[in-house]
Symmetry: C2
């Protein structure tokens, strides 16, 4: 186990009706709030009205930034940072999913940065000071509500890049599972694929004695597999929504990656796909993951895949490890199909045209991955996804 620092300082206020705690959660930071959200979903499901009512009743001064994109753009960050400066904002309130929270984080940092906001995406060392961030989560997926990460897109150069800062970690996050009752099935599915991918990225590593972390990882995967079909079939099943929501937060708050090293594999490839084609992050991950698994299955990785099969899918540990591993990968792919994710890039209108460009952009990116990959490897995996 490698040394690690774990500091998930966010106060999680979890459960039905926790929105009532919002004024108290914001109060320590000031009265001037930038309210950041995406499209109209929070207006349709009543979350926007609840927030505005509570902020009004408690005399907060609200400036709004709406229209954050599913892959949030640097232009929106710039707009938010300007709003913060112009209105002496004291705390940023993100109401939405990972895109809205990620965008809010970079806004909260960019408002103290003199140069262009894109600089702090490219170089996290340039993040010096950050406004406190509070979130109201409406989609279980990225874990952004309890971590230091943010991913921002710059579409004119086909860049989708992650940045991070300990100061980005939200001060408090309100996680009410009922806010997911109105989610379209595909968003529930894609969000779950994102949760699972965070686990896979941390689970498939060379470190062999991160036993506690790996059992946690398997527990989260089992929760996703157990509850996602229920949440799709019965969107207002509280138990299903609650477990998926809590799973998403825990999947990427540092717990399952603690004590491990190495670069992630599917996420960087998916970021390129999104940067070129603006596809849903979770969908891209679901398409890539089983193909990447098949591509890297070897004598070096088979025992880890067998662990995965035994501990997540309850496969028979006495079988041949390759048999267990292949079965586990099959079951992974079948699960994504079952929850309704289109499992071929061609179904999203993506052909081979950009595969060379995308692969080259990732040159040397995977030198330190679980299984190092060259641009040729990436291209082959993309071809398996067609």
């Amino acid at each position: 186990m490698k040394n690690f620092n774990f500091h998930a300082r966010t106060e999680i206020l979890f459960g039905k009706g926790q929105i009532e705690a919002l004024p108290k959660a914001l109060a320590p930071y000031g009265k001037k709030v930038l309210l950041v959200y995406g499209g109209g979903s929070i207006k349709r499901n009543g979350v926007y009205d609840s927030v505005i009512k509570l902020l009004g009743e408690n005399n907060f001064e609200v400036t709004e930034l709406s229209g954050v994109e599913p892959n949030p753009r640097i232009e929106t960050v710039r707009k938010g940072a300007k709003l913060c400066r112009d209105n002496q904002i004291e705390v940023v309130l993100a109401v939405g999913g990972g895109s809205t929270i990620d965008c809010s984080k970079v806004i909260a940092g960019a408002c103290f940065y003199d140069g262009d906001a894109w600089d702090i995406v490219l170089d996290k060392e340039k993040i010096t000071k950050v406004l406190p961030i509070v979130t109201v989560l409406t989609l279980a997926a990225t874990g952004s509500e309890m971590n230091k990460n943010a991913v921002i897109s710059k579409m004119d150069t086909n860049d989708k890049i992650g940045t991070s800062s300990q100061e980005f970690v939200p001060m408090a996050s309100i996680c009410d599972p009922t806010y997911m009752y109105t989610l379209p099935a595909i968003q529930t599915a894609a969000g779950t694929a994102d949760i699972m991918s965070h686990i896979f990225e941390n689970y498939f590593k060379s470190e062999e004695d991160t036993y506690v972390q790996d059992r946690f990882a398997e527990g989260i995967l089992r929760a996703c597999i157990h509850y996602c079909p229920t949440a799709i079939e019965k969107p207002d099943d509280y138990s299903a929504r609650a477990n998926l929501m809590w799973a998403s937060t825990l999947a990427l708050n540092g717990l399952t990656g603690a004590g491990k090293g190495q670069t992630w594999s599917c996420h960087p490839i998916e970021h390129e796909l999104s940067a070129y084609y603006d596809i849903t992050h979770g969908t891209g991950l679901a398409i890539l993951t089983p193909r990447w698994m098949r591509y890297i299955l070897s004598d070096k990785t088979v025992s880890k895949f067998a662990d995965y099969g035994v501990n997540v899918f309850a496969l028979n540990p006495d079988e041949d490890p390759y048999k267990i591993a292949n079965k586990a990968i099959d079951l992974t792919e079948e699960f994504f199909k079952k929850i309704g994710i289109p499992m071929h890039l061609s179904e999203l209108g993506i052909g081979t045209e950009k595969f060379d460009e995308i692969s080259q952009k990732l040159d040397r990116k995977f030198d330190d991955a679980y299984i190092p990959m060259t641009p040729q490897d990436v291209k082959k995996i993309l071809e398996m996804c067609l």
Copy 2:
């Protein structure tokens, strides 16, 4: 799943050599440090020297309080609170296991309380302000390094009582697994029993849809069962020590109890045993737990015990649930025996003399437990432990 707040704000600095981060961890709070520790073990294993050297080199002013008891006494708390006031202490540094950390927490609160320190043990509402606490952990057991709890004893009245405050949660904890290399085997065993008991107390609850929490709980139990025998056989096995240490922190930082209610069962009984006989907490828990399990096994609890057997001991899920449950309880008892814990109260010189008094002291305590128990029930369980 019930609503919950999760706020484990502690920065965990985990791994070999993390002691070097101590000055930086203390720095935000001031220069005047109360260094709290127990017996001579940290002097024998070099941890004391490392701490003193680092504090000296970085110009901290150190006041020392040594001799914290294994079941820390209120007298020691009073002494510590006076030292804080007399020396204008700004931060309390606990170096040791749970007893030292618990004692430090109540000292940090008592120094701001005008009345007697025992008041804030009896009534946590009286805790108004608390000095910041930093810990250097030397024993994997109580999880006090990342939670709000503290247990203090008052031996003249045979009281051992828990108190808590969100302000007790340490600001930072240094967890170096190599500090456990010199632990006597029985302390490794008793510490592991304590970790497992924290899990059992949270796992055996009526809430049925805390799926993520229960898989985490099972993962921690598996880690204890997997690594404790190795740590005893080979005290300097880093992987074993690291997993046990991280398991102890995660077992009681709020994760496995989130979304659940109900009073604990074995801990309150053990607290009474310790208050009367000053026995090691973990030993008392290991003796009580399998007997409590047998006593409460019924049609109401059998499916939870079967889950435990299948997910922790990989028992065959197709067997009769009672068969799985009984086998799982047998394996629990065998495990504690295997790691060298004396499994009968009589081996500790404890007879039936105080059983009535202890049981009566717990009257109505378990009205809201997983399985409610009367003083008669408690007495029967104690008799099973003889």
